[in-house]
């Protein structure tokens, strides 16, 4: 009778230390998972640049032309997303800007192409497209 009671005590005694290392092992496994992820952020950045479809220097040149034509003060923000009408240009100014773009980049903008230009980014994209056609 005494021996019978002794063994369950030993069994239960043996179970407890076994449980603890199992938990430790599982923790270690969960920590190692983030290390396995590859460098995804850099791929995403590359994809962003391709979708813009206009070189930075083209956008800068267009900003310079717009700034000179509208006589904007030096602190006025002109970037890719600026809409020309928001910067204070009326349709005559837009025609002059398109003429200056034609002169600078040595391209000819068609009538319907000139109508679609509403922002600096539009103009830069159109310029890139026309330069590609010319170069082809």
């Amino acid at each position: 009778m005494a021996t019978f009671t002794a063994t369950p005590a030993r069994a239960s005694f043996a179970l407890k230390p076994v449980q603890v290392p199992v938990c430790k092992i599982s923790n270690v496994r969960s920590v190692s998972l983030p290390v396995g992820s590859r460098s995804f952020p850099s791929l995403k950045a590359r994809r962003f640049q391709v979708s813009c479809a206009a070189k930075k220097e083209t956008v800068d040149k267009v900003c310079e032309i717009v700034r000179k034509q509208l006589a904007l003060p030096a602190d006025a923000v002109v970037n890719g997303e600026s809409r020309i009408s928001d910067l204070g240009a009326d349709s005559l100014d837009t025609v002059e800007i398109v003429m200056a773009i034609e002169e600078t980049f040595d391209i000819t903008v068609e009538e319907d192409g000139a109508q679609t230009i509403s922002s600096v980014q539009n103009a830069a994209d159109l310029i890139e497209e026309l330069l590609k056609k010319k170069g082809a």
Partner: protein
């Protein structure tokens, strides 16, 4: 008379801008610096001066005036090209 006046109805904004574009393009074709710059300046000043016209007959008159000036400029561009100067104007020399 009335039919010809009705035929010259007020031009749309796109037609007006297309006329300005043709004038500036024709102006760019002159070989003489002075004539080129004058034509560009005169075209822009003329359009800006008439920018706020409201009366449709006045707009139509200004538009037809602009069209006749465009014809003059095109003819003169051809004539000037026959006598293109050999020496570039000092303003055209790049520093």
């Amino acid at each position: 008379m009335a039919s010809s006046a009705a035929a010259a109805a007020a031009p749309s904004k796109l037609e007006v801008l297309a006329l300005l574009r043709s004038l500036l393009r024709t102006a760019g074709g002159f070989h003489d610096y002075n004539v080129r710059e004058y034509t560009k300046r005169r075209a822009l000043d003329g359009f800006r001066h008439n920018k706020d016209l409201a009366d449709p007959s006045a707009v139509a008159a200004a538009f037809s005036d602009g069209k006749s000036q465009l014809e003059v400029a095109k003819r003169q561009a051809i004539v000037y090209s026959l006598y293109a100067p050999e020496v570039k104007n000092v303003m055209e020399l790049k520093r």
